[in-house]
């Protein structure tokens, strides 16, 4: 359990340093920068979900007045196969082809050409003047079709990976994965009760409110500066360099403020195109996606088809569990079926289980990470199945989970033994929460579910500068999506022992600070925070040395307490302690400016668990679900900025509720998305939601100086099943598929009634 630690500023909720600029409209987001001489780039997109490109003629567009450059697939270097590395992951050649189609278009909205012109309107007219001749092919639009042995192929060169032997013919199954332990047949024989279910969830979009945008300014020696909204400018630089076969040193990436990402801004779409257009046009090129383009051509989360089977003894002990899961990858391999498979049973201590997972190509946009990629879908299936199991056993659903819950030392389904984790703490907190026992209105239902995410560490850099008046500037390389500057300032202030207001954090560009992986994977407060703490410790060591030199004593005779250097007890008692400001003021005489730095590859990100409680009321006539109450309980390890931790939990809950109740990609028979706008792809609005109650559980992560686990992703995992279980409780019928939209609910009620 969380031991009581006395922190001065950690765990408080001060105002973020970038806040005033964000409430007054000053903060510059991706589309907010304009440069002199700037022109506008637009992308021509495929009107077909699957077709061969026979011919592209851009000559008419090129000849138009006000058009400065036109590019298509042939202008891009041949990209080799190879791993991108880092967070965005995947294959370079796939990434390159996703940015600009070469011989085939693989989804409706796939880029085939781009122009840069004097104005957006001229650019659009130029797009209309580009002639593309297609040979239309049959699109592969769903998992069942894609996995059939006679399916048309999305990629003729796709041979299933991870099989013991390379298959003799290509298929749409890009990769398989298996996990298992024990003997499931025997396990099911020991079971008194078995539940089985089959769950389908359509693709859903991250839905950040800011569309992708960038400006590239390429000079005549080929060097380019790119401003863009990104979750990680260093990785964007790496991807752009690889796609364009450029020297990384010739690219400078500056991260603008970012209007949401949730994983969707971990991969490049526009940036390499803008660099090329700018190179040809000799001018800065600004590119902004429309909302429709964001829906049609940037990564949604995988649509899935998942089957689970769970067996248990009468006392609730699970004796065996199996899962079969197919994940839509979109047009290129790389669906998050791995984390899906590794997370499905992660909260439970299972002796016998088996998981089979498939990464499946379909003619839809290439999926991108979306908060805890893979886990919401797989855990939805398991958590719904457990709800049914609890019903069959006549057991409280929290007790059933407690009975099987993983704990410190449990061997996780994905291999290692868990260090200290907060699952049981969260389950107990849920059980004791007043919202769990409070009476429900007539006809309403309550559901619970568990969420889990691994969290990651990865590489981060940070520098800490002590300004001449003793104020502190923290420089790091992670775009601030949800208040991370404030968290960095809090950790720096705590470590140095100075007030929060004395510290400011800025995000350096790729030329002004060290490499950092993306803001994603719930890693920023954990890993970059660790780098900031280490850099502050570096400063403290330097300050102690400076004080020792000032006083003429040994360094080990100087302590650092409450933000100042003090002599150790018994040493030179008459000297006055030196504050950061004192040391800074005298820095020129003691060795020059104070600069602390740290870079690391953070290890030991702690797994994070959550429990959600959802209360819903269902209108049996219309099928509309009203969310009456929602409670999010999560182990944060340690909450650095309490309000922003709650914010992550509430925001994730809202996204999960949207996915559970409304959000889905709807396609026609030709593979054209039918709801590519916020009117028809309806994300939760203020009037759809209640207040979201949060309880932060703190089981400190032993690998972080302040116990941080990372909180950003877990919150989206449990709401899907918690909501589905609440609807089940309210209507008395298990509806397996999502979203639980009014037509689906009405149909289920009608079917059950007839």
């Amino acid at each position: 359990m969380a031991e009581a630690v006395d922190y001065k500023v950690i765990g408080t909720s001060p105002i973020r340093p970038d806040g005033v600029d964000k409430v007054t409209g000053r903060a510059q987001y991706g589309a907010d920068l304009n440069l002199p001489n700037m022109i506008y780039g637009r992308v021509l997109r495929s009107p077909h979900a699957h077709a061969r490109i026979k011919r592209i003629d851009t000559s008419r567009a090129e000849a138009m007045k006000g058009v400065y450059s036109v590019v298509s697939g042939k202008d891009f270097p041949e990209a080799e196969h190879g791993e991108i590395g880092g967070e965005g992951g995947g294959d370079i050649s796939d990434l390159a082809k996703n940015i600009m189609a070469r011989d085939k278009v693989l989804y409706h909205g796939h880029p085939v050409a781009a122009v840069a012109a004097r104005s957006q309107r001229v650019a659009e007219e130029a797009l209309a003047a580009i002639e593309v001749e297609y040979e239309v092919l049959t699109p592969v639009l769903d998992l069942d079709t894609a996995m059939a042995s006679d399916a048309p192929l999305v990629d003729e060169n796709c041979y299933t990976k991870n099989l013991p032997e390379k298959p003799d013919k290509p298929s749409n199954i890009a990769a398989v994965m298996q996990l298992g332990r024990g003997d499931v047949d025997q396990g099911f024989e020991q079971a008194d009760v078995i539940v089985e279910g089959e769950y389908r969830i359509p693709a859903a979009h991250q839905g950040y409110i800011e569309p992708h945008a960038c400006i590239a300014n390429t000079n005549e020696s080929g060097q380019s500066t790119v401003w863009c909204c990104t979750q990680g400018h260093f990785e964007f630089r790496a991807m752009t360099a690889k796609v364009l076969n450029m020297n990384v040193a010739d690219l400078k990436f500056v991260a603008s403020e970012i209007g949401g990402g949730f994983g969707g801004k971990t991969v490049v779409y526009l940036e390499p195109v803008a660099v090329l257009l700018s190179r040809k046009a000799h001018r800065p090129v600004k590119m902004m996606m429309t909302r429709e383009e964001v829906f049609r051509a940037t990564g949604p989360a995988s649509g899935t088809h998942i089957k689970v089977k769970v067996g248990a003894r009468k006392d609730g002990t699970i004796t065996a569990a199996t899962a079969w899961m197919a994940y839509e990858a979109g047009a290129f391999a790389g669906a998050p079926m791995g984390p899906g498979a590794m997370s499905v049973f992660a909260p439970y201590d299972l002796e016998n289980f088996k998981v089979e997972a498939f990464d499946v190509l379909v003619n839809k946009p290439k999926v991108a990470a979306y908060r805890a990629p893979g886990a919401p879908q797989s855990m939805h299936a398991m958590e719904c199945a457990l709800d049914e199991l609890a019903r069959k056993l006549g057991m409280d659903p929290i007790d059933l989970r407690l009975k099987n819950a993983a704990d410190e030392g449990t061997q996780a389904p994905y291999g290692p033994k868990f260090p200290a984790i907060g699952l049981k703490a969260c389950l107990n907190a849920a059980k004791n929460h007043p919202n769990y026992t409070k009476p429900l209105p007539e006809g309403a239902g309550r559901g619970i579910a568990v969420g889990f995410w691994f969290n990651v560490g990865m590489q981060s850099s940070a520098e800490v500068h002590i300004n001449e008046n003793g104020t502190v500037t923290v420089v790091e390389g992670n775009p601030d999506i949800g208040g991370s500057r404030a968290s960095m300032c809090l950790m720096a202030a705590e470590t140095l022992g100075v007030p929060y207001e004395q510290v400011r954090a800025i995000i350096g560009d790729t030329e002004s600070t060290g490499f950092s992986n993306v803001t994603g994977g719930s890693r920023t407060t954990f890993a970059t925070g660790m780098a900031v703490v280490r850099a502050c410790e570096d400063i403290i060591a330097q300050c102690r040395a400076r004080a020792a030199a000032t006083w003429g004593v040994d360094e080990d005779q100087v302590l650092w307490e409450d933000g100042q250097a003090t002599p150790a007890p018994g040493v030179n008692a008459d000297v006055k302690p030196l504050s950061l400001a004192d040391i800074a003021a005298n820095a020129a005489k003691t060795g020059g400016p104070l600069l602390g730095r740290a870079s690391l590859n953070a290890q030991g990100a702690g797994a994070s668990f959550s429990v959600n409680i959802a209360d819903v009321q269902v209108d049996r006539e219309t099928g509309k679900v009203d969310v009456l109450g929602f409670t999010a309980i999560q182990d944060a390890g340690r909450a650095i900025h309490k309000a922003y931790v709650e914010g992550q939990m509430q925001g994730g809950a809202a996204q999960g509720l949207g996915w559970a109740l409304n959000e889905e990609y709807i396609y026609d028979a030709n593979g054209v998305m039918q709801n590519a706008g916020f009117l028809d792809y309806r994300i939760p609005v203020a009037s759809d939601l209640p207040m979201i109650d949060c309880e932060i559980v703190e089981v400190p992560n032993p690998s972080h100086p302040y116990g941080v686990r990372g909180v950003g992703e877990t919150p989206i995992v449990a709401p899907l099943a918690a909501t589905a279980n609440a609807v089940r409780d309210a209507v008395g019928i298990r509806i397996h598929d999502l979203p639980l939209s009014p037509p689906r609910i009405v149909a289920a009620i009608d079917a059950a009634g007839s």
């Binding site: 839905g207 800011e210 970012i258």
Partner: protein, 159 residues
């Protein structure tokens, strides 16, 4: 295409600009006048990121033409703070951590200002329905609602 001259007032300042007849007020604000505090989330009237006040009406700037601004008073997020400092809504958004990425914030603050002018003491439901046209993907709205409630209190009884 020949441009039209438009005379208007933006945040209390007389302003003249030239715009193409088909340009939206949002495009004019952002690209012609470099008032980029007003954001674009969809350009189809579905997200509220572009909320501005036209006289005292709450409007999506992406659904109004630039030429329609003629003779009207436009208020954008850049015009909400005063010489005395931040507007209570801005202050309360900061205090309540009612923004994460912040892209929805300008629109929400403008919309909330309009709400409080019409309903100085709104209940939670009123706030939720008034702000239902302003999408926020990060916060789940909880802290936004609380910030607006607190700002309403502050405006009624200035500290």
């Amino acid at each position: 295409m020949s441009k039209v001259q438009v005379t208007t007032s933006i945040n209390g300042e007389e302003m003249e600009f030239l715009c193409e007849p088909q340009q939206t007020l949002l495009e004019v604000l952002r690209e012609t006048l470099s008032r980029t505090g007003t954001k674009e989330g969809c350009a189809t009237g579905d997200c509220g990121a572009c909320s501005v006040l036209v006289d005292d009406r709450l409007v999506c700037a992406c659904l109004m033409l630039g030429v329609e601004a003629e003779g009207h008073e436009i208020t954008t997020i850049e015009g909400i703070a005063t010489d005395d400092g931040l507007h209570p809504l801005q202050q309360k958004f900061l205090e309540h951590a009612a923004l994460q990425c912040g892209i929805c914030t300008p629109g929400l603050i403008v919309a909330a200002k309009s709400l409080l002018e019409k309903h100085p003491d709104p209940d939670e439901t009123t706030i939720r329905y008034w702000l239902a046209g302003n999408l926020c993907r990060c916060t789940g709205y909880d802290k936004i609602i609380r910030a607006v409630q607190d700002a309403a209190k502050e405006l009624a009884h200035p500290a």
